[in-house]
């Protein structure tokens, strides 16, 4: 009897584990079926266009001269490396990104530190601060171009005239135009950095500041030795997120300067757009877009490495 029972036991055990495997497999299949639509949509809207873009960049595709179309391999990239306008737009992109991100973090942090010390009105301040963020960048661009920067009529120009600086062609002068688009981007997105850093500041324990005071740290030392290191993860996160957005900024610059005057504010993204849809060189435009993708990946790679460090 005994061996029989034992065998039966093993048999039941095997059956049970078989059933378990079947159930698990079914569950996996069901999960896959549920995921499929979203996955397909994602493939169709992001992966496929990206691959298509990379494919297109290997062709000459010129809507103005369709007869010359054809596979050119890396020709577009070779052209790109000797294209002065590409290098200047890359430089504009880097200057624009660097300046806006640094300004956003610096101003956002300063505002957050100020607001932390506000006894009253913090809630109001937060609401007012969030307003620029919820506006569409295109709308922001239009507001600045007409309402703020228009010569003679714009608020900024009015202030400049009253300050004795005289009326300036804010968007017509290459340097002023660059400064203007940087200011506009900073104006719109500093509240984001401000909100993230404020939340992070609010979560820092108060008692360590009291301990630091008793340890005879000055206000500056408390900021540098305690606040900054503790805010570091939040700051790095803001820098990463804002860098990616700034590198691919489009709408605000497009509506304010359109990349001009000349190519003074033409960031890489805008150059790719102009090449593709104004000059209709879709193949070369694609190569520019791929170059932007590579630049973005490189920079974010560096930033993420920075985030992991220590």
């Amino acid at each position: 009897m005994k061996p029989a029972t034992a065998t039966a036991g093993i048999a039941t055990g095997t059956a049970a584990s078989d059933l378990g495997r079947v159930l698990a497999q079914r569950e996996r299949r069901f999960a896959a079926a549920l995921l499929a639509p979203a996955f397909m949509a994602l493939l169709a809207t992001t992966t496929f266009p990206l691959l298509f873009l990379i494919g297109t960049s290997a062709f000459r595709m010129d809507l103005a001269m369709p007869f010359a179309d054809g596979f050119v391999g890396l020709e577009n990239y070779r052209t790109l490396l000797t294209d002065d306008r590409f290098w200047s737009s890359l430089l504009v992109s880097l200057v624009y990104t660097g300046a806006t991100v640094v300004l956003q973090v610096a101003l956002g942090l300063a505002l957050a530190l100020l607001v932390m010390d506000m006894k009253r009105g913090q809630g109001w301040f937060r609401v007012v601060a969030i307003l620029p963020v919820v506006l569409s960048p295109a709308v922001v661009g239009m507001i600045w171009r007409t309402f703020m920067l228009a010569p003679e009529f714009g608020i900024v120009d009015y202030l400049a005239i009253n300050a004795g600086l005289g009326s300036k062609n804010w968007l017509g002068d290459p340097l002023l135009a660059m400064i203007s688009v940087i200011v506009i981007h900073t104006w719109q997105w500093t509240p984001f950095a401000f909100m993230v850093l404020l939340a992070s500041l609010a979560s820092l324990p108060e008692d360590i500041y009291e301990a630091a005071r008793l340890d005879r740290a000055s206000a500056w030392q408390r900021f540098r030795r305690i606040t900054l290191p503790l805010l570091r993860p939040a700051i790095v996160m803001v820098v990463i997120m804002r860098t990616m957005v700034a590198l691919t900024a489009f709408a605000a610059i497009f509506t304010v300067t359109g990349g001009g005057p000349g190519t003074a504010t033409e960031i890489l993204n805008l150059y790719a757009y102009r090449k593709s849809f104004t000059e209709l060189s879709i193949g070369y435009g694609s190569a520019l877009a791929v170059a932007l993708l590579i630049v973005t990946l490189l920079i974010s790679g560096v930033l993420f490495a920075l985030r992991r460090a220590k």
């Binding site: 324990p205 008692d207 360590i208 009291e210 301990a211 630091a212 005071r213 008793l214 340890d215 005879r216 740290a217 000055s218 030392q221 030795r225 305690i226 290191p229 503790l230």
Partner: protein, 350 residues
């Protein structure tokens, strides 16, 4: 270091809006003393400590350290070290960096800092943890790190805000003894906030008992235990707490539930009083106050009996020898010198 660390509080009032947290607190602390601020939560003891540290400003009154008025002096410039209840370690710094921080702020040379940090770490036995971050330490180790950070800078005053309250019972007892030894060996003035009367009794040279924003009594622990000057202090000090019952005082005796007990107070006439007798001072003896044993709490070496004495709850602490069973009616008494008498209206000691 004698002569340093003398503290004087002069009529300190602290208002939080309408609420007065401190209602005119005055006391003196002598150099080298271990001084405890004892009281239930919300009694103002922590506020007192924070005012002494300079973290809060008093609404009125003056604070002196070593004879100098420091009421308006910033916390930075008071030369005070403090151990916080939460330890308040800098989470991004290693134990070493935490301990070194006050010395770096004082701009000491690196070599000197290194010697001092290792010395402080050795005193609190955490020299093997110097590379860790606070997050990697146990509660007890964090507490030691906070202690090391406080003692590394030889401040003239050493404040401790319930430093043991986050430790488990066994560790608390051990650390308590070490703390006392440490303070003695450093010879520094220590001000210690606690709600645990046992901690205050064992650690303090002298203590101030706080109740509702006022100091009820200042003195040596034994003195306060033996002669509490009010009903509130009597009820707060001692575990289990003192038995307090209403009684009639008549010509040196008190009448409790029809029974007469001799007191040490020689006075003629009759009046209402509150009688206080510590559970340990009650004796089981014939011809005493009749009481029924309701419950026996076994504490191991002693037992605490909950009694019902003519409708009034009382407690008596007895040794192992003569424990009556629950439900038994026993007869209890106390020596005249163990009976405390209080005025029921002023609540003061008679």
């Amino acid at each position: 270091m004698t002569g340093r660390g003398q503290v004087r509080f002069e009529d300190i009032v602290k208002m939080h809006g309408e609420f007065s947290a401190l209602k005119g607190v005055s006391f003196d602390i002598e150099p080298g003393e271990f001084f405890a601020l004892l009281g239930p939560s919300g009694s103002g003891k922590s506020t007192t400590l924070r005012i002494l540290a300079g973290l809060d400003a008093p609404t009125s009154g003056r604070v002196f350290i070593d004879g100098r008025d420091i009421t308006a002096t910033d916390a930075r410039d008071r030369d005070i070290a403090m151990v916080f209840q939460s330890y308040a370690l800098y989470p991004h710094m290693s134990v070493y960096e935490n301990i070194a921080f006050p010395l770096e702020m004082a701009k000491l040379p690196v070599a000197e800092i290194d010697v001092a940090v290792k010395d402080a770490a050795r005193k609190v036995k955490i020299e093997h943890l110097l590379d860790r971050k606070p997050g990697q330490l146990s509660g007890g180790q964090q507490q030691r790190c906070a202690l090391a950070r406080a003692i590394v800078r030889k401040a003239r005053l050493f404040l401790l805000d319930e430093p043991l309250s986050n430790l488990d019972a066994k560790l608390r007892m051990e650390t308590r003894a070490e703390l006392k030894k440490l303070q003695r060996s450093l010879g520094v003035t220590a001000v210690y906030v606690t709600h645990d009367q046992e901690e205050a009794m064992t650690l303090a040279d002298r203590m101030a008992v706080f109740m509702a924003g006022e100091i009820q009594q200042v003195g040596r622990p034994a003195e306060i235990f033996a002669k509490p000057n009010s009903i509130d202090v009597a009820a707060f000090i001692g575990s289990p707490p003192m038995n307090l019952l209403a009684a009639l005082f008549a010509d040196g005796d008190v009448l409790i539930a029809g029974h007469r007990l001799k007191t040490a107070l020689q006075a003629a006439g009759e009046r209402d009083v509150v009688v206080g007798i510590r559970p340990g001072a009650l004796r089981i003896a014939p011809d005493g106050l009749k009481a029924r044993v309701e419950l026996i709490e076994d504490l191991g070496d002693t037992k605490v009996l909950d009694l019902d004495c003519a409708g009034t709850a009382m407690r008596i602490r007895v040794g192992d020898e003569s424990v009556p069973p629950e439900g038994a009616v026993i007869s209890i008494t106390a020596r005249a010198q163990d009976i405390h008498l209080f005025d029921p209206t002023t609540r003061r000691r008679l």
